[in-house]
């Protein structure tokens, strides 16, 4: 661990469209800091993950010390500090899904891609070498009636079995 400050080589900028979205967002709150979560979501959509460059930019936009951004990013599981796969697979692993054999689905994905389950501090071990998939366990996704469930990026898949999962994953580009 060195004491050398890192230099950001390519600063992050919002795309024009996202900048417009941000400009609208920021008006919703009486203090800029409150726009933190939506801004981070927007930035992560664009950049794929929250890199130091993203943190610096968000901090600047919200007029905060960069540590306040880092602090938030590490608290919330939905923000990634490392690159993740094109498809992020979240397998719900909480009790109602566990009662419905989510374990089989998870094991199946692990075997299929020969990867481990990613942890919040080590996403690489749960990401396929081609960078297409990242496998995560998730806490209750509020769909226990159709358990077991899996989210792939923004889409929810219900009543899964290993076979159905296989089909879904194979259908993804």
């Amino acid at each position: 661990m060195s004491n050398e400050l890192i230099q950001i080589e390519t600063p992050f900028q919002f795309s024009e469209e996202n900048q417009r979205k941000f400009d609208k967002l920021i008006q919703r709150y009486p203090v800029k800091e409150a726009a933190m979560l939506p801004t981070l979501h927007l930035a992560q959509k664009q950049a794929g993950y929250i890199s130091p460059a993203v943190m610096e930019h968000v901090a600047e936009l919200l007029e905060l010390p960069v540590m306040k951004v880092k602090d938030v990013v590490t608290f919330y599981p939905m923000f990634f500090e490392e690159p993740v796969g094109k498809y992020v697979i979240r397998v719900c692993y909480t009790l109602p899904c566990a009662l419905r054999d989510c374990k089989l689905v998870l094991e199946h994905i692990k075997e299929k891609f020969n990867i481990d389950v990613a942890s919040e501090t080590d996403l690489a071990k749960g990401t396929t070498p081609d960078g297409k998939f990242t496998l995560l366990k998730s806490e209750c996704l509020a769909s226990c009636d159709v358990a077991p469930v899996v989210m792939v990026n923004d889409d929810l898949y219900k009543n899964l079995t290993p076979e159905k999962m296989e089909e879904i994953l194979d259908g993804l580009e």
Binding site: A34, L95, A98, A142, C144, D145
Partner: protein
């Protein structure tokens, strides 16, 4: 058999009910129009109080009473709609957001009109991407049709509604955690007092209300207090003389999952029994029920002989459990309770915000002890400790005798109780997440002790038949102390 009574969910499956036009065809926004035409804000608050509406998000706190704490002389005031729905076993808010978002907006309109609020945020958990899209579209439509924005329907009432995404942290469902999160910080609950009603979002008076609670408002305002209170049950609170009424009025969106044949959301009058609910949900999947979690994973578990308990706020509290979020999880005879507890404790250890000492370090400790037991490595040593049971005078307590227990089981109970004490209902934590941890830990252990002991004795998880796995009613602390509430009789 008990019948569903669909009010909030009545039009849920109507095609395109998520659009303004179809929503209008089914009385959409008409109840709000009626409200602003016929009632002054203060009247609405009174009506909500009289209706007995209790918050559906978890605490079951009287909505009218909460509103009465809000100081009217501090501007601005805010509404935060709690759509963070993350309590394991709960999924009723999701359907409202995804299928009928205008209903929520109508509820928000009524609440904000009553409270003189002109900005409302809907805090939606980050994973609800579809729900957020649908709500955002509905909000836009509502603006377009003049139901949001400035001078709504020429009434002089302004309201802006914004959706705000969470990012995967359960604790942001706790009302002050939600507020911190909305302010752009870690979702660490605040010390109370001050309560949000007095000092909340941006340090202004704030009403935090669950989606389902708000969705009750259009129907309450549309059809009146009398109609509303005719649904459900009203008990008498016998701590007072004469007894005060303790309403459990309205319907509840019961979410039922786990080992039942037809899991799903069932809208039923408050106050049916757990047995009845399982029947409505197609009966148990498997031979028989081993255990039922009655109010989301935080609620103390019920054994097979406690299913006669009514699933309402009062009854479950008097049975030493809670209705919580109304997430009911059923477990059949093949389930191992130690394993279930391990799953739940992993959830809590992962979701503790880490702010306060007992929960930050106690919750993972509890998880580790359960893990050790589940791995068959629970300590075989036994220790002597006072036996609890029916003590002198027929009360529950220290019997004066000693008993031998496995050291790890005693440790598990003691560590959990040190986070938040289940018997005295006192906690040393900042928020009630602490008791949400110790409730399951202590109740599963006490009610299914034979299965925990077997795991230690045999060095592996052993699933016992229902009768053997459960402590008999005489030794069940909750069952022994239960009180069956009586219906309220108005004083003559």
């Amino acid at each position: 058999m008990v019948q569903e009574r669909r009010i909030l969910y009545e039009h849920l499956d109507v095609p395109d009910i998520n659009t303004f036009d179809v929503f209008r065809q089914y009385d959409g926004y008409k109840r709000f129009e009626k409200t602003i035409k016929e009632h002054q804000p203060e009247e609405i608050c009174d009506m909500v109080t009289q209706s007995g509406l209790k918050g559906r998000g978890g605490a079951g706190f009287s909505t009218g009473l909460k509103w009465s704490f809000v100081p009217r002389d501090i501007e601005p005031r805010y509404l935060c709609c709690n759509a963070d729905e993350s309590e394991p076993g709960t999924f009723s808010n999701r359907y409202v957001l995804e299928k009928n978002p205008h209903l929520l907006i109508e509820g928000i309109l009524i609440c904000c009109y009553a409270m003189g609020i002109s900005t409302a945020y809907v805090y939606i958990r980050g994973e609800f991407t579809l729900g957020k899209r649908m709500l955002d579209a509905a909000i836009e439509e509502a603006y377009r049709h003049g139901y949001l924005g400035k001078n709504i329907l020429g009434s002089g009432f302004d309201l802006d509604v914004y959706s705000h995404p969470g990012a995967g942290a359960y604790i942001c469902g706790e009302e002050t955690g939600l507020i911190e999160s909305l302010e752009g910080k870690r979702g660490q609950p605040r010390v109370k007092p001050p309560f949000p009603a007095v000092e909340g979002l941006f340090h202004k008076p704030t009403v935090v209300q669950n989606v389902e609670t708000l969705c009750n408002l259009p129907f309450l305002m549309g059809q009146g207090v009398e109609w509303y209170t005719s649904i459900g049950r009203t008990y008498g609170d016998t701590r007072f003389d004469p007894p005060q009424s303790d309403p459990n009025t309205g319907t509840k969106l019961y979410c039922i999952s786990g080992d039942v044949n037809k899991p799903g959301v069932y809208e039923l009058d408050l106050g049916l029994t757990a047995e009845e609910l399982i029947e409505v949900a197609g009966g148990v999947k498997g031979e028989r029920v081993k255990a039922v979690i009655p109010g989301g994973s935080s609620a103390p578990i019920l054994t097979h002989y406690e299913l006669e308990c009514r699933l309402d706020f009062t009854s479950l509290t008097l049975w030493k459990s809670m209705l919580g979020s109304g997430g009911i999880i059923v477990m059949n005879e093949t389930r191992n309770i130690v394993d279930c507890l391990l799953n739940i404790m992993k959830f809590y250890a992962h979701e503790s915000c880490g702010q306060c000492t007992p929960c930050r370090w106690g919750t993972p400790w509890v998880r580790d002890i359960v893990q050790r037991i589940a791995d068959g490595e629970g300590r075989q040593t036994t220790i002597q400790r006072p036996r609890f049971g029916i003590a002198e005078g027929g009360r529950w307590g220290d019997t004066g005798e000693m008993e031998e227990v496995y050291e790890d089981l005693d440790l598990l109970e003691s560590v959990a109780n040190n986070i938040a004490n289940v018997d005295t209902m006192t906690w040393n934590t900042i928020c009630v997440f602490g008791i949400a941890v110790s409730w399951p830990a202590v109740s599963y252990l006490r009610k299914f002790r034979p299965e925990f002991e077997a795991a230690i004795r045999e060095g592996k998880l052993v699933t016992l038949p229902v009768e053997e796995a459960t402590v008999p009613p005489e030794e069940n602390y909750a069952y022994q102390q239960r009180i069956v509430p009586r219906l309220f009789e108005a004083p003559a």
